[in-house]
């Protein structure tokens, strides 16, 4: 999306880190609540961003079509690249693997559970986008080997 007014990505990354700190502080270090509020924030952004990214796109024909769009065009716009691997059980669960998840590039290694706050915003963004496109869902992320991240999308009603 060409725009005369853009912001350096580094600024955005700093903002994300600060968001995590603020969310933690707001919820007295309760990680779950922090994750919740960051996810909600991401939801709000994702549902708006998708309208712009999908602007010139022909109408989707299937659920898989929509998920692929999120893996390619939306991922490019939000996370600077495409998803590296997409898998599904054809019963409403999709697994998206990003081997170099952009938001984790500059995060020092943590134990697996501590990444949740750093991926919460992105999970919310993805869920917000999918929701706006007609696929309400839950999105969670797992980081086993930073920055490789595995996102699991569970659609609300099992749609093949």
């Amino acid at each position: 999306m060409p725009s005369g007014r853009q912001v350096a990505e580094s600024v955005f990354e700093l903002l994300l880190v600060e968001l995590v700190c603020t969310a933690r502080a707001q919820h007295g270090d309760d990680a779950d609540k922090a994750v919740q509020s960051l996810t909600t924030l991401g939801n709000s952004v994702g549902s708006r961003l998708v309208e712009k990214v999908a602007l010139d796109r022909a109408r989707f024909v299937s659920t898989l079509d929509i998920v692929k769009f999120v893996c390619k065009e939306l991922w490019n716009e939000a996370f600077g690249k495409q998803v590296d691997n997409l898998r599904t059980n054809h019963r409403g669960v999709f697994v998206l693997i990003d081997n170099k998840f952009r938001y984790l590039r500059h995060i020092s290694p943590l134990d697996a559970r501590s990444y949740a706050v750093y991926t919460a915003f992105a999970c919310g963004l993805i869920a917000g986008a999918l929701g706006a496109l007609g696929l309400p869902c839950q999105v969670t992320a797992e980081v086993t080997a930073c920055p490789a991240t595995t996102f699991t999308v569970k659609l609300e009603e099992a749609k093949a």
């Binding site: 708006r48 109408r59 929509i66 706006a132 007609g134």
Partner: protein, 139 residues
């Protein structure tokens, strides 16, 4: 000259997000019930068209139905937002209406980026209002 008599943006659940009607002279009209009625009747057809097209995956749905004095066009986004435009019966070219929808959609996407605006609520953006008026008068 072809004149736009009404533009509407309607949410998936059919609640109105934005609707404006114009007289033959291009003056904004409030509560033009005829336009509201025509637009409302068009919604059923939008849903039919959208569900029916397997091959046609265009967001632009084309002419929905002609009445004796007006033509009604529809457009459905991937986020299930419906746009309906009513024009005076004239030689309105498909390509022009398509372009109008595309530009309105872009304006809507911009308005949506306002974090204080929630999806599904009526749109009250002055910038959007201004831009749409310009689009309509330039048609």
């Amino acid at each position: 000259p072809e004149m736009i008599r009404s533009v509407s943006i309607i949410a998936e659940n059919n609640s109105p997000l934005y609707t404006r009607s114009y007289s033959e002279d291009g003056v904004q009209v409030d509560n033009d019930t005829q336009m509201l009625y025509i637009t409302h009747a068009a919604l059923d057809i939008v849903e039919e068209r959208a569900a029916g097209t397997a091959a046609g995956t265009d967001m632009y749905l084309g002419l929905l139905y002609p009445t004796d004095s007006f033509q009604v066009f529809g457009y459905l986004t991937n986020t299930k937002v419906k746009f309906v435009v009513v024009t005076d019966d004239a030689d309105v070219k498909d390509a022009e209406v398509k372009g109008l929808f595309r530009r309105m959609h872009a304006l809507f996407a911009d308005a949506l980026c306002n974090p204080f605006y929630k999806r599904g609520e009526p749109l009250h953006s002055r910038r959007f209002e201004h831009a749409v008026s310009k689009l309509v008068s330039a048609f």
